[in-house]
Symmetry: C2
């Protein structure tokens, strides 16, 4: 089993990714696809006059401030990506089925009730945020879809215990899914060739690191890549054998990654 | 088995509908929910600066002109309704799972390749419309979800043979689903008490008609109600025993309908 995670439709070769997914599935490979849609959410927010706002936690992570309206915009923007992926996969002969993490309680999360943030140098607590941390994955639902010949395409929403949809980080969602279904490999597609020793110099690609070297990798990673490294650690700790950071812009992003391109992280 | 169809979130008592769905499911009733979202699509289209446009066919039916951009807006608006329904049902203890008709090829449709329309008195042919007529329902997928204790909530998109998502009429989608799964009853919720002999006089409610009286019902029905009557005919002809037009604004829309409120159409 392979879990593949892609961001939104921007900055990746969507057609090539779907072609590779189809090639793998036609070879008999079981595969689950997880996607994001952060840029598309920003665009839709701007168009709807609800300017995106980001918050920085005390520990230095940046995330989208998600009030209810933002949650619904996030849901709409990622639903559009989900549909485009389902269409592309169906065109390639893959019987894809789109699901959000709220469907069948696929991804159950603990809502962030109080987020301590720093804004303009001041510490604040945010309490109306619809974000959360995934705690359980309904692996049975994924397995029953897979055994019916369907390929799940997962939109990064989870559901809280109270039944509210939550915005969750797609990289970490992919890691949790990979762990829950016992995937051997998790491929995280980005718009860079992999983890770079000296970002953004693509000639400084690190081809291989081990779980033990993760801390130094985390110090090298910038911005979004930090969350991807954390996702990789989560997946490895949940039993996934190999995580690959691969270039989603490539002509053959998944087959290339499986053939050794990108950065491989192994236990 | 009961199939319930509701429009969007406007003009119906959404909380009451979900409460009734939960009550029925907790009584052991199998149920499939189909929804629309036409008003929400109009609103989102306006906000995004893509003014809704409607076309009238030579046979007098009006439908949304759905170019690719409109299709994506329709998909986003109805995905939002779908998520709200899944959340409400989850809050009521129902393990709902949202699906569009593209997912797992749940609803396969023949795309309308050339629609003959009348615009400002002139006849025209429209060829870039992403609408279609459902031909087959993947009843196996619905049955496997139901037997896993899940309640399907269906977004009115279908998939063409070529793998393109299509906007389909939700009333007729509900009728096709009801026929395919062998439902005994189809409940179509509206914002009127049922079929009225003299629209909009609610005191002229017709409580009961038979399949044989449909033609006269069709002549009484105005606007949107015409499509509902056609949906009812389709469902009856596919073996559904009873179709009920019921008031979605009521305090107990589904339990009321099952107790005899609204207009009942039987074979």
């Amino acid at each position: 089993m392979i879990v593949v995670k892609m961001g939104g439709a921007q900055g990746v070769n969507l057609a090539a990714v779907c072609q590779d997914v189809a090639a793998l599935i036609h070879q008999g490979q079981e595969l689950i696809f997880v996607h994001g849609g952060s840029n598309e959410t920003n665009e839709l927010s701007e168009k709807l006059g609800h300017t995106p706002r980001f918050i920085t936690t005390l520990s230095g992570f940046t995330s989208r401030y998600t009030d209810r309206q933002t949650l619904e915009i996030f849901a709409m923007a990622t639903a559009r990506i989900n549909l485009i992926l389902v269409e592309q996969l169906q065109k390639a002969g893959v019987n894809a089925v789109g699901l959000s993490g709220a469907d069948g309680r696929l991804l159950s999360a603990k809502r962030n009730e109080a987020i301590r943030v720093v804004e303009n140098g001041r510490r604040m607590v945010i309490r109306d945020d619809y974000t959360g941390k995934i705690e359980t994955v309904n692996a049975g639902l994924l397995r029953s879809l897979l055994s019916a010949g369907l390929t799940p395409v997962i939109q990064p929403l989870a559901i809280s215990e109270a039944g509210d949809a939550l915005n969750v980080d797609a990289d970490r969602a992919a890691a949790m899914v990979a762990g829950a279904v016992g995937a051997e490999q998790l491929i995280l597609l980005t718009n860079v060739p992999g983890l770079l020793r000296s970002f953004p110099d693509e000639s400084t690609l690190i081809p291989h690191i081990t779980r033990a070297e993760i801390d130094s990798a985390l110090s090298l990673a910038e911005g979004r890549m930090k969350k991807k490294v954390l996702g990789a650690v989560e997946a490895l700790d949940l039993g996934v054998r190999k995580v690959i950071f691969a270039d989603g812009r490539a002509a053959s992003p998944l087959l290339g990654a499986l053939a050794g391109q990108g950065t491989t992280i192994e236990r």
